[in-house]
C-alpha cells in the first residue's frame, strides 16, 4: 500500500507527519528552512499564490487579499459566520449555501483556500520522501458537523489528495499519547486551538481507544482571545490618542498580530510591553498577565460547560478521569491550564508538543490504515445527534450523539397520498427538539415510487455514518426490492460538479514559482520598510537634523525605485541601506515613545488619586 501521511489542518498552523518505519514513532516533516509549522495563511498576488510564512508577512500590507483562519468558514453558511465577518479584513459573501471570499475581481471558496495549504504540505512531504504522496489522513475538530467534514474532504480532493480518513483532533492526540505514554485508563483530552474547542473522554484498554463522549464549540479558540485583547487596545488607543482604528484594515492587522504576540509572551512572563507605530503616533503600553486573564476569563470559563456535559454523557464524574491531556496552542495560556486542572483535580499532561501532537496522531492513524500498526484501534463517535424532520418540525433522532462510528439506522417511509411517487426527507444534525434549531444537512428526494394507494409503498432508508463521521443515505423499496432513486441537496457545501470544476481549476491557484515567490517576498519586505519609514518621517521629523532627514529621504527614494524593478539583489540592497540610514531615527523615536508612555501613566496615576 502506498504511503499515507497525517495532516493537521489547523486554524492557525498546519503540519504534516509520518510514522518512521525504523523506530515506529511518528515524526513531523519540516520545510526546507527547518520550520515545522506552516501558518494556515494564503495570500493572492498577481504573480501567484503565497502560502505560510510568506503569506503571513503580507497580512499587514495586503489585508484584503490575504486569507487567514479560513477553517472557521469551512462548511458554513453566511448566516453562521456573519457576526464575525466584521473582524476579518477580506471580503466574505454569501453564495448558495456556502460563503465565498472575494479577492480582487475573482472569488474563492474556503475549501479552495484550504486546498492551497494542503497542497503545500503535500509538496513538503513529497520533497522529503522523494516520491509522490497521494493519500492523507486529515484531522478536524471533533465537534465538526457533517458539512464541515465534507468541506475538509473536498479541500483534499482539490489539492490532489485522497483523504482516506477524517480523524477528530482530540482523538488523534490520544493516539499519539496512547502509542507513547498512556496505556490504560480514562482520559480527558482538552483541545483548545486557534479557532476551535473540543473535549473528548476516552477509555484506553489493550490498545483500543474508545471515545465515550465528545463535546465542544467550533467557534472558540485563540483567535477569540486575540480579539478580546484587540478590543481592549482599541478602546485604550481611542482614550489616549483620540484615534479610532476600528475601520483601518492595516492597523487592525498590526494590532491583532501585536495582541497575539503579547498573549504568547504572557504565557511565560507576568508582564510585557507593546509598541506599535501607527500613522501619526506610536502606541505604547505595558500589559500584564492579570489584565489579559480578565479579558479572556469569560471565554476560558465557557469551555468548562462542554467538559461537564461530555463527562455526563460518558456517565463519569471528573474524579473518575485518570489522565488529562492538553492539546492545541491555546492550552499554553496559564489560565487555561489552571481552570482545567481545577475541573479535573489533576495536573494535565503536556509532554508532547501541543502544536504537533495532533499531526503525530494523524500519522499513527495513517499507519494503522496502511497496515503498519495492527495492535491499536481507534473507536470514535459521532459528535451530534442525527435526525429527520417530522410533522410539526419536530426532530426524530435516528442516531444519538456519541454513538460509535461507523453506525447506521433504518427508517421506514411511505406515501400519504394515493399515487404519490416522490417522498421528501429533511435530515438535520443537533441536539434541539425543533428542526429549525438544528443544523440542516440535506434534503433527500426519494423518487420513482410506483403509483400505489397511500401508505402502501414501503421504502426502507438506511442512514450510514462512516468512520469519517460523514453521512450517506440509501433507500430500497421493499416490495420490489429495487433501490429507490435518491437525489441529495446538501444545504451547505459544494456540489459534486463544483468540486470537479475546482479540481480542474486548481492550477489557477498554483503557488507562485520559486523565482516569483522570492521576488514577491523581497518586494514585500521593501514595502514594509517603506511604510515604516514614511510613518517615522511624519512623526519624528523634529527629532533629526536636516542632513539626516535628507539622507533618509534619498534612501527612501532609491528604495522605491528599486522596488519596482525585478532585480531582487537591488531591492534587497536598497532595503538594507534604508534600514541602516533610519536606525538612529528609530532609536530616537522609541525613546520618545517610552517617555511619552511613562508620562501618560504618571498622569493616570495622579487621576486615580
Amino acid at each position: 500500500m502506498s504511503r499515507i501521511v497525517g495532516i493537521d489542518l489547523g486554524t492557525t498552523n498546519s503540519l504534516v507527519a509520518y510514522v518512521d518505519d525504523k523506530t515506529g514513532l511518528p515524526r513531523v516533516i519540516p520545510d526546507r528552512d527547518g520550520q515545522v509549522l506552516l501558518p494556515s495563511i494564503v495570500s493572492f498576488t498577481p504573480e501567484g499564490v503565497l502560502v505560510g510564512a510568506a503569506a503571513k508577512r503580507r497580512l499587514v500590507r495586503r489585508p484584503e487579499s490575504t486569507v487567514y483562519s479560513v477553517k472557521r468558514l469551512m462548511g458554513r453558511g453566511y448566516d453562521d459566520v456573519k457576526d464575525e465577518l466584521g473582524y476579518l479584513p477580506f471580503k466574505v459573501q454569501p453564495a448558495d449555501g456556502i460563503v465565498k471570499i472575494q479577492i480582487g475581481d475573482r472569488d474563492v471558496t474556503p475549501p479552495e483556500v484550504s486546498a492551497i495549504v494542503l497542497k503545500s504540505l503535500k509538496e513538503r512531504a513529497e520533497a522529503h520522501f522523494g516520491e509522490p504522496i497521494e493519500k492523507a489522513v486529515v484531522t478536524v475538530p471533533a465537534y465538526f458537523n457533517d458539512s464541515q467534514r465534507q468541506a475538509t474532504k473536498d479541500a483534499g480532493r482539490i489539492a490532489g489528495l485522497d483523504v482516506v480518513r477524517i480523524v477528530n483532533e482530540p482523538t488523534a492526540a490520544s493516539l499519539a499519547y496512547g502509542l507513547q505514554r498512556i496505556k490504560e485508563g480514562l482520559i480527558a483530552v482538552y483541545d483548545l486551538g486557534g479557532g476551535t474547542f473540543d473535549i473528548s473522554i476516552l477509555r484506553v484498554k489493550d490498545g483500543i481507544l474508545e471515545v465515550l463522549a465528545t463535546n465542544g464549540n467550533t467557534h472558540l479558540g485563540g483567535d477569540d482571545f486575540d480579539r478580546a485583547i484587540v478590543l481592549a487596545l482599541l478602546a485604550d488607543i481611542r482614550t489616549k490618542h483620540g484615534a479610532d482604528l476600528g475601520r483601518d484594515l492595516e492597523a487592525m492587522q498590526e494590532l491583532r498580530l501585536a495582541a497575539e504576540a503579547a498573549k504568547i509572551r504572557l504565557s511565560a512572563d507576568e508582564r510585557t510591553a507593546l509598541t506599535i507605530p501607527f500613522d501619526g503616533f506610536t502606541y505604547h503600553r505595558a500589559i500584564t498577565r492579570a489584565e489579559v486573564e480578565a479579558l479572556i476569563g469569560r471565554l476560558v470559563e465557557s469551555t468548562l460547560a462542554p467538559c461537564r456535559m461530555a463527562l455526563a454523557d460518558a456517565g463519569l464524574a471528573a474524579a473518575d478521569i485518570d489522565e488529562v491531556v492538553l492539546v492545541g496552542g491555546s492550552t499554553r495560556v496559564p489560565l487555561v491550564r489552571r481552570r482545567v486542572q481545577e475541573l479535573f483535580g489533576k495536573t494535565p499532561h503536556s509532554q508532547l508538543n501541543p502544536d504537533e501532537v495532533v499531526a503525530l496522531g494523524a500519522a499513527v492513524q495513517a499507519q494503522i490504515l496502511a497496515g503498519g500498526i495492527t495492535d491499536m484501534l481507534l473507536l470514535d463517535v459521532t459528535p451530534l445527534s442525527l435526525g429527520i424532520e417530522t410533522l410539526g418540525g419536530i426532530v426524530s433522532v435516528l442516531i444519538p450523539r456519541n454513538t460509535t462510528v461507523p453506525t447506521s439506522a433504518r427508517e421506514m417511509f411511505t406515501t400519504s397520498v394515493d399515487g404519490q411517487h416522490v417522498v421528501d426527507m429533511h435530515v438535520v444534525q443537533g441536539e434541539r427538539e425543533l428542526a429549525k434549531d438544528c443544523r440542516s444537512l440535506a434534503r433527500f428526494e426519494l423518487s420513482g415510487i410506483d403509483p400505489m394507494p397511500a401508505g402502501m409503498p414501503k421504502i426502507e432508508v438506511v442512514f450510514l455514518i462512516d468512520a469519517n463521521g460523514i453521512l450517506s443515505v440509501t433507500a430500497t423499496e421493499l416490495r420490489s426490492g429495487k433501490a429507490a432513486a435518491i437525489e441529495v441537496k446538501p444545504t451547505y457545501g459544494l456540489s459534486e460538479a463544483d468540486v470537479e470544476r475546482m479540481v480542474e481549476d486548481s492550477f489557477t491557484n498554483a503557488e507562485a514559482d520559486v523565482e516569483a515567490r522570492l521576488l514577491i517576498e523581497t518586494r514585500n519586505e521593501a514595502d514594509t520598510v517603506i511604510t515604516h519609514v514614511e510613518r517615522a518621517l511624519a512623526q519624528g521629523r523634529r527629532l533629526v537634523g536636516d542632513d539626516e532627514h535628507a539622507a533618509i529621504v534619498a534612501a527612501l527614494t532609491a528604495l522605491k525605485d528599486a522596488r519596482n524593478t525585478t532585480d531582487r539583489d537591488r531591492i534587497r540592497e536598497a532595503t538594507t541601506a534604508t534600514n541602516q540610514t533610519t536606525e538612529h531615527l528609530a532609536e530616537l523615536m522609541m525613546d520618545a515613545a517610552l517617555k511619552g508612555a511613562l508620562a501618560s501613566r504618571r498622569a493616570d496615576e495622579i487621576m486615580e488619586k
Binding site: L379, S396, L398, P406, T407, S408, E431, R432, D466
Partner: protein, 200 residues
C-alpha cells in the same frame, strides 16, 4: 440479525457489561474497517455494514435501560425506530400533584421570563421536581431490577405480560422526564441549547 445475535446472546436482559465490553473490543479488532483497507470494494462495503451493526448493537445493549427499550421494539417486530416513541403517561398515584405542577408551569410560562417566578413559587416547584426525580429514579430502578428479572424468568406464556409492564413503566418514565425538564426550564436551570438532550 438482531443486536443480541450480533453478540451471540439470548434475548435476555441480564447481561454482564464487562463481558459485553470485552466481546465488543474483540469483535471490533477482528472486523473494524481500519484493518481491511486493502480489501476489494464489495468486501469493504460488507465490512462497513457489519461494523455499523456491531456498534449499533453495543450501544443498544450496554445500557440496561436502552436494552429494555430495544427489546420492546424487537418483540413488537419493529426493527426501525419508526413510531418507537412511547406515549408518555402520568403515574396514576401522582395525577393530582401533576395537575398542580402543570398549572404552576403554565403560570410561570404566561408570566414570562421578564417577571420571573417569585421565591415561594420557585421553592415549591423545585421541591416538586426533587420528588419527581426520586420517583423517576425509582421507576428506572424498577425497570433495571425486578421487571428485567421478571422478563428473564418468564416462560413463553408470561412474556406478553412482562412486555406490557415494560411499556407502562417506560411511559411513566418518559412522562416524568418531560415534566422534570419543563420544571428545570421554568426555573432556568437547564443548559442553554441542551434542553432536550436527555429525552432521547
Amino acid at each position: 440479525m438482531d443486536h443480541f445475535e450480533v453478540f451471540g446472546l439470548p434475548r435476555r436482559l441480564g447481561i454482564d457489561t464487562a463481558e459485553l465490553q470485552r466481546k465488543f473490543y474483540e469483535l471490533s479488532r477482528r472486523g473494524h474497517p481500519d484493518f481491511h483497507q486493502a480489501a476489494p470494494p464489495e468486501r469493504q462495503a460488507e465490512i462497513l455494514e457489519a461494523s455499523a451493526r456491531l456498534n449499533a448493537a453495543y450501544r443498544a445493549l450496554r445500557d440496561p435501560l436502552a436494552r429494555i427499550e430495544y427489546l420492546v421494539r424487537l418483540e413488537e417486530g419493529r426493527d426501525t425506530r419508526e413510531g418507537a416513541t412511547v406515549k408518555p403517561k402520568a403515574p396514576p398515584e401522582l395525577l393530582e400533584e401533576m395537575f398542580e405542577i402543570q398549572e404552576a408551569l403554565q403560570e410561570a410560562k404566561s408570566a414570562g421570563q421578564s417577571v420571573g417566578l417569585d421565591a415561594g413559587a420557585k421553592r415549591t416547584l423545585s421541591d416538586q421536581r426533587d420528588r419527581l426525580r426520586a420517583r423517576y429514579e425509582q421507576e428506572e430502578a424498577r425497570l433495571r431490577g425486578p421487571l428485567s428479572q421478571a422478563w428473564d424468568a418468564a416462560g413463553p406464556a408470561d412474556r406478553a405480560g412482562a412486555l406490557t409492564a415494560f411499556k407502562e413503566a417506560l411511559a411513566v418514565r418518559a412522562y416524568l422526564r418531560t415534566v422534570i425538564d419543563d420544571i428545570d426550564e421554568a426555573l432556568g436551570e437547564s443548559e442553554e441549547g441542551h434542553v432536550s438532550h436527555r429525552r432521547h
